[in-house]
Amino acid sequence: MSLTQDTAADGLYGLLAEFSSPETLLQACEKVRDRGMSAWDAHTPFPIHGLEKAMGLKRSIIPLFVLVLGLGGAAIGMLMQWWIATKAYPLVISGKPLFSWPAFVPVAFECGVLGGALGAVFGFLGQARLPQHNHALFNSENFERVTDDGFFISVEAADPNFDREETEQWLLDLGATRVEAIAP
């Protein structure tokens, strides 16, 4: 008897395997990585350290967004003050030059922090493909536990190595406590 129940006759998003603990999930992820799967993911209620290596994930490129937008923000902040102080509304204050840049450092710094923070947040949303309110995995009722205490691996049918029967058995052999077919 197969443990999976077909929820859609005409297609399949993939398989969702549940694991009982961070340890078993981590070991299973190494195996999935070593098998050369590409369209798969692990789902956990909290980030598990070492799992990104076990999955073979690349380093996030968010630092790049932060660097570029942070420096950009600071430059825009300084440029704005330069333009206001020398072009738009030039005022001589206590005989100082119009572009008295040391006085403009605090605002330029704050603008840089704002740029960097926006870079981090929107970089994260872009890289994590959020917001994405609809996803095939939400078809699984059991998947609701992913934000509580469930540890899952999802393997998509789109993966070239995917084979319904064989992959299911393989996931069970990796220690999955339960494998479920996900409708698209």
Binding site: I84, A103, E110
Partner: protein, 470 residues
């Protein structure tokens, strides 16, 4: 109940969460206050807060109708309570970012139990703070003059003024705190979405959780973004209160014109903010049955921070006196003697006893974990830190260089009403927060449990040995 927790078997340090919780029980404990019918005490608190909030509305309405003359501000004390309250609230707002960002960078895992509430408190405190300069400007229909907005008058702000730096520092601080808080909330909002029993809750939490599905590919970016936000918020939090102190320090006024102000203000801000976190947490942990998650260990660490920052503040008070004498400047010397022994000596000594003497009780270990002591001490510190700002603003202004222009500042009913009203705004927001948002960062707390650390059984593995937590 109130004893420091047992030793964590994995790391050999005191366990951060009392008892032996599993992941699910953390979710249950934290989610419960949002899913119960709220206790009657919550309605009472919200009712009182709303009454105070309406007092704020009335005060501001009357102010807009009548003008700033309804306050006690006079010449020479043109910066009265509004600026005192502004600095007070901004200061309180600093603990949130300290606990969330600075302690995160230092890998202080104990922060996970309290960081969410502290961040929320930061945002509400900054909201209160922003009201005061806004309504203090005299012509409250013109606050947009503080922003660099193109306008038909061809006027632009003057960026050599520290008051303009302040506009940018505080508003950007509010924005970044909000972003940091929201990013931290996303996984927990998803938890609430998945637990929701009603359609309204499911939709509301669903929209704000952005479709989070706990994917490790998402977590990978999430963790990096969170780390970088913490890295950005740390210099930001230090800069914000430094900039607030520049409002004073760049002036020529004895009592304000000192180089010690930036570090002194930052330490004071963290001091007052942690005191406010302590006050709120002592109550919330009991009301919402979170005593095992927010346990004496966390209060022990927070009171050590109170002791450190309180002592730094005490050092600043004394070094100000030393420099006033050592500089040989007669005006500066007079200002400080006047502060301690002049007409406002009562305020000065309230400040010293609340801020310097009170935290010394935390040298005693028992006091650091005793909720009654903590509550009373934190209230004293809140009062003391308000008086610190009062002393700085009022005693420096009321007697300046010319004795003929000396004066005395007395607050009016409307000064008090506006200040109490700002507490109404703060407490209303806080009551709504504890009711509708998870007040403990569930995902982060779960990550600190011993069983969250996957120990790889295979020593040949290329994985780092995991299981290290601070």
């Amino acid at each position: 109940m109130d004893t420091v927790a047992e030793i964590d078997p994995v790391v050999g340090r005191p366990a951060l969460i009392a008892g032996e919780p599993d992941f699910h029980s953390i979710t249950e404990s934290v989610a419960a206050p949002m899913e119960w019918k709220p206790p009657i005490g919550w309605y009472i608190c919200l009712g009182i807060s709303l009454l105070m909030l309406s007092l704020l509305g009335i005060s501001i309405g009357w102010l807009f109708w009548e003008g700033v003359g309804i306050w006690g501000n006079n010449q020479p004390v043109a910066w009265g309570w509004p600026i005192v309250n502004f600095v007070f609230w901004v200061g309180i707002g600093h603990a949130g970012t300290l606990i969330s960002a600075v302690l995160f960078l230092f890998r202080q895992k104990w922060r996970t139990s309290i960081n969410r509430t502290a961040e929320a408190m930061t945002i509400f405190a900054v909201m209160c703070a922003l009201i005061f300069p806004g309504i203090h400007i005299g012509r409250p229909w013109l606050p947009y003059w503080m922003m660099p907005i193109p306008n038909s008058m061809g006027m632009w702000p003057q960026f050599r003024s520290p008051l303009m730096w302040d506009v940018f520092a505080v508003s950007i601080y509010g924005t970044v705190s909000l972003l940091f808080w929201y990013v931290g909330l996303i996984p927990d909002l998803a938890t609430m979405r998945d637990r929701a029993k009603t359609k309204i809750r499911r939709t509301a939490y669903g929209i704000f959780s952005l479709g989070w599905r706990g994917s490790m590919r998402q977590w990978n970016h999430y963790e990096k973004a969170y780390l970088l936000l913490a890295g950005l918020a740390t210099p930001l939090v230090l800069s914000v209160h430094s900039v607030v102190s520049f409002d004073f320090a760049t002036s020529q006024l004895p009592g304000w014109h000192t180089t010690i102000f930036p570090p002194y203000f930052v330490a004071g801000a963290i001091f007052s903010g942690i005191a406010m976190v302590t006050t709120l947490m002592v109550i919330c942990r009991v009301v919402f049955k979170l005593t095992h998650i927010i346990n004496p260990l966390h209060f022990d660490r927070m009171s050590k921070l109170l002791l450190v920052t309180g002592t730094i503040v005490g050092y600043a008070y004394s070094i100000e006196f030393f420099v006033a004498w050592y500089s040989g400047n007669p005006y500066e010397g007079f200002t400080f003697l006047n502060r301690a022994f002049g007409p406002y000596a009562w305020a000065y000594w309230i400040m010293v006893s609340c801020n310097v003497i009170t935290p010394q009780i935390f040298w005693i270990k028992k006091a650091r974990t005793n909720m009654t002591v903590l509550f009373i001490a934190s209230i004293f510190i809140n009062i003391g830190m308000w008086f610190e700002r009062f002393v700085i603003v009022v005693t420096s202004l009321h007697r300046d260089f010319l004795p003929s222009s000396w004066g005395y500042f007395r607050p009016t009913f409307w000064d008090a009403a506006t200040f109490i009203g700002s507490f109404g705004l703060f407490l209303t927001m806080f009551c709504l927060f504890v009711r509708f948002l998870p007040m403990v960062a569930m995902a982060e707390v779960k990550g600190t449990l011993p069983q969250a650390h996957a120990r790889h059984p295979d020593p040949e593995s290329d994985l780092e040995p995991v299981g290290r937590i601070a």
